[in-house]
């Protein structure tokens, strides 16, 4: 099957899944004793007529299945509705999702940049001092709650004043030129990226190490050594390329885990991402916003898995996607 057809098929498969998720999320929010218009009602400057118009538009006076149908049709038409604090949900969502995506992609990049060499080194020099040191560090990393690490980094930032304390931009961000804006964001990304990288590093480094150890015992590695290939060629050309496949599947899961893990980090570090936006929506009883962000989270997760499967196909020509 050619790749575009495969992608198309996967997207078709994802549609019923997304439908099911939206149904679940909607039921969940309907069960909650939430009045989505509470904020409007509490505001004396909003007229009764306006509240009624909004009730009409959201279909709140109609039974739940009809409300779901209204939500579904307007979402399919690309209208995600209005947030209770005013403003379009779509605009806020895109802004925050972009921030979360930036954080996650940078984190993934650094995680692999560190985990791959560290894993290879540990496998090749098994049982040596550095291997044991990595083992200790990853054991700590696997048990470290992201929020604790975030607090520790905050303390470091407070003590040294070298790093910003939370947020994504400085207060004078708007007045800077483009280059200095990029540098400012990079500067603010240091703490969240460090936190998330350290936590997700552990699992990958261990996986690289144990996969490579398995492969190094294989017959073809012994053959490669027997025919006199240098150790570098044996490890990087024969062993590592075979050891890496299961890891690419992991990439998809990793992305999913990051989305959740990043949510707490975002909240602790006041980073304006999707997780913080969702929490805000939940706390202000913003139905439209919460529905949209749950759906977006699911779409990102499913896309992550698809990308991982495609990568697998590119790295290993033996695998044919079905």
């Amino acid at each position: 099957m050619s790749t575009p057809v495969y992608i198309f098929k996967r997207i078709l498969q994802a549609l019923p899944l997304l439908f099911l998720i939206s149904l679940m999320a909607f039921t969940m929010l309907k069960l909650s004793p939430i009045d989505p218009l509470a904020a409007m009602r509490a505001n004396p400057s909003v007229s009764q007529a306006a509240i009624q118009a909004e009730e009409e538009r959201l279909g709140l006076n109609k039974p739940a299945p009809v409300q779901y149908a209204i939500w579904l049709t307007s979402t399919l038409q690309g209208n995600l509705g209005v947030s209770t604090t005013g403003g379009s949900v779509a605009v806020r969502l895109m802004q925050h999702a972009g921030n979360t995506l930036l954080l996650n992609v940078v984190t993934l990049f650094f995680t692999w940049l560190v985990a791959l060499p560290a894993g290879v080194y540990a496998a090749v020099h098994r049982g040596k001092f550095l291997d044991k040191l990595f083992g200790l560090i990853t054991a700590i990393g696997m048990s470290m709650p992201t929020f604790l690490l975030a607090f520790l980094f905050l303390m470091f930032a407070l003590a040294t004043h070298w790093l910003p304390i939370g947020g994504m931009t400085s207060s004078d961000f708007a007045e800077r030129d483009t280059l200095s804006q990029i540098l400012d964001i990079a500067y603010h990304l240091i703490i969240p990226v460090c936190v998330l990288t350290f936590v997700s590093l552990a699992g990958i480094q261990r996986q690289v190490r144990s996969n490579l150890l398995d492969v190094l015992r294989a017959d073809y590695v012994r053959s490669a050594r027997a025919k006199g290939l240098s150790e570098e060629v044996v490890i990087y050309k024969h062993a590592l390329r075979n050891a890496i496949n299961p890891l690419i599947t992991l990439l998809g899961f990793e992305f999913a885990g990051l989305l959740s893990g990043a949510a707490l980090t975002e909240m602790v570090l006041a980073y304006p991402g999707l997780g913080r936006l969702t929490l805000e929506g939940v706390l202000t009883k913003d139905m439209n916003l919460v529905m949209a962000s749950i759906m977006l989270g699911a779409v990102m997760l499913i896309t992550g898995n698809l990308v991982a499967d495609l990568l697998l196909k590119f790295t290993d020509p033996r695998i044919t996607v079905e």
Partner: protein, 375 residues
């Protein structure tokens, strides 16, 4: 010499007892696992006997010392000689110009730290009425080893009471999530066909929502006017709800291969009902995987609870949990340096998870050498 040549017959029960013995003894021999087991024992022991081990109750507060730093233990008397530890009463002063609180000791009376003092009365394990505390000082002085929170409650004592919630939620969650996950997976794998397909699609849908988003969505459903035990129970249910699908999927995969085994087919052919067959023959085969998965799942429950409480959707004040104690650190990040004890609950969470993970790793090596990944 005639040696006793009686043949050794090992009954199935004896073999099982031996196996159990070797698993435990092999775990105990491993230095890491032993340390982790002792660590967990201490944690659960402290949670169980929190009332005795702490100087103050969970809701005890002294509004005069809100946000006070950790009480200093003095071990030198006025002449500079070593003596038994004592504390001074602490006085709060507000600087009206800077709105900063300062705390100073009143050096008039010394309050020695006493062991096994009478204090607030409580019911040990909810049954035995007692009023003995391991240590304490006479009022009006306070012994707050890790400072006071903004309501003037003792952080040190609340860590113990928080442990009661944070540590039990992991196991309670297991008791709900695992039976559901195991049975769901086993049924799907055993029946197969379109039912299997449908069941797995549903499990996938739950898994496709990033867990934390699902978690806060579900937590928002909980009405506000609930008693703390109701809330605790419902949070456990929510945590279980997001964690069963992963297990169900693995169990299903295992069952798919187990149901082709001869002994399952044999039982089927002599007319054993499907449900009995699943419970008696299929599920026990997944035992070692389940034990390992359970050990590694407890940390996830603990993390989820503390995350939820940290953002204010989990256990509510005045109840203590490690997560909602950390909320103080999140709400006032600028105080982290002046009040470093605010993140103490975070370290306890870390330590607990470290123990569970270490035990899980060793357990995996012992129970299932194939899974140990070339170590």
């Amino acid at each position: 010499m005639v040696s006793s040549a009686a043949p050794q017959v090992s009954t199935p029960a004896k073999v099982r007892a031996d196996l159990k013995h070797t698993i435990l003894s092999r775990m105990w021999k491993d230095k890491v696992a032993r340390t982790a087991l002792i660590g967990l024992f201490l944690l659960y022991f402290s949670a169980l006997f929190a009332d005795i081990l702490t100087p103050y109750g969970m809701e005890f507060n002294d509004a005069n010392v809100g946000n006070a730093p950790a009480t200093l233990l003095h071990i030198h008397n006025d002449n500079g000689e070593l003596c038994l530890p004592y504390v001074y009463q602490v006085k709060q002063e507000n600087d009206l110009a800077t709105y900063r609180q300062t705390f100073s000791e009143i050096h008039t009376t010394k309050y020695p730290v006493k062991l096994l003092v009478k204090g607030e009365s409580y019911k040990l394990l909810g049954l035995i009425p007692m009023d003995i505390h391991l240590f304490g000082v006479d009022a009006p002085a306070r012994i707050y080893l890790l400072g006071a929170d903004m309501n003037g409650r003792d952080n040190y004592s609340r860590l113990y009471f928080g442990a009661q919630k944070s540590l039990t939620i992991g196991f309670l969650g297991l008791f709900i999530a695992f039976p559901i996950g195991i049975f769901y997976g086993a049924v799907a794998g055993y029946i197969g066909g379109w039912a299997d397909n449908l069941m797995m699609r549903f499990a996938e849908a739950v898994m496709s929502i990033p867990s934390f988003y699902l978690l806060i969505g579900l937590a928002a459903i909980l009405p506000l006017g609930m008693t703390s035990s109701q809330r605790f129970a419902l949070i456990t249910v929510i945590l279980s709800f997001i964690s069963w699908p992963g297990l169900a999927r693995v169990i299903r995969g295992m069952v798919l291969s187990i149901r082709e085994e001869e002994f399952v087919q044999a039982a089927k052919s002599v007319g054993m009902p499907e449900v009995t067959n699943i419970i008696k023959h299929v599920i026990p085969q997944t035992a070692s995987y389940v034990v390992i998965a359970a050990t590694l799942q407890v940390p996830n429950f603990i993390l989820a609870e503390s995350g939820l409480s940290l953002i204010g959707l989990g256990i509510q004040q005045p109840d203590a949990s490690w997560g909602n104690m950390l909320k103080a650190a999140m709400d006032q990040p600028n105080e982290l340096l002046s009040q470093p004890w605010l993140i103490a609950p975070g370290f306890l969470i870390f330590f607990t998870i470290l123990c569970f993970n270490s035990i899980g790793d060793v357990l995996r090596d012992v129970l299932d050498p194939k899974l140990s990944g070339g170590r």
